[in-house]
Symmetry: C2
Subunit: 117 residues, 2 copies
DNA sequence: TTGACTATTCCATATTTCTCGAAATATCGT
DNA sequence: ACGATATTTCGAGAAATATGGAATAGTCAA
């Protein structure tokens, strides 16, 4: 991932409303959620939400498809993985003692501590 | 990590100058680098750099200590790890197919692809 | 204590981002 | 075609962020 892309993604996530939306979509899985449904879940004003969805889309973090009158948004897992990879690459570029705990964090049993995978 | 802390850290990193500084400090290791040295390495104006170092400090991503006339900045690896953990926790809260590639990413041999750890 | 050096703080300006109401666009069922 | 539903786009004001020059503060060496 290029630096400018990473900066865009980081900036998109550095916002409470957008972070909430992104987490919601990650949890919603591949089926995604309609914009109105997202607004109801998060209490966001529709026009504000729409602007924030556009920011997340521009950052490549979410995608969308039309379904009748609704537009369904989904998290882009690839971009998410690339962003984490970029940050970890940065991290691992330095010292081994940083990398090790991260590897542990990523590979620990996902059933622990409320995780579902 | 709390959401508001994560947002602060993401926002701090979502800036070319600050991301450059942070990467530099991660690579510099525990010895860190003096502000002037950072400015020379990145070509930043000193007062601008100082403001950006303050943002990174407020976000908990870097620390500092005085050494004579210089102030030495160092990356805070714990905060970095917590931030990645927060993002991955979010990610893994959803579906297994997202988590698996991340675990692979984190645990692959660090000597591959230009990585040093 | 004076002068050189290192870095931060202060300040004004410029730029960007955020928000939401109103209007516009797209789709559907009848 | 019409009315209802779903969402986006537009516009404009408010708020936050970014920048660099000048002034300030801490440290050292002689």
């Amino acid at each position: 991932m290029e630096k400018v892309i990473a900066i865009g993604a980081l900036g998109a996530l550095a916002h409470e409303g957008r972070l909430d939306v992104f987490r919601l979509l990650v949890r919603a899985g591949p089926e995604g959620m309609a914009a109105g449904e997202i607004a109801r879940s998060t209490g966001a004003v529709l026009s504000t939400l729409s602007a924030n969805l556009a920011v997340l889309t521009r950052a490549g973090l979410i995608g969308s498809r039309r379904d009748g009158r609704s537009i369904i948004y989904t998290a882009d897992y690839d971009q998410m993985r690339d962003l984490l990879g970029f940050l970890m690459e940065d991290c691992c570029g330095g010292k081994p003692e940083i990398c090790a705990p991260l590897a542990e964090l990523a590979s620990r049993p996902c059933t622990a501590e409320g995780r579902t995978c």
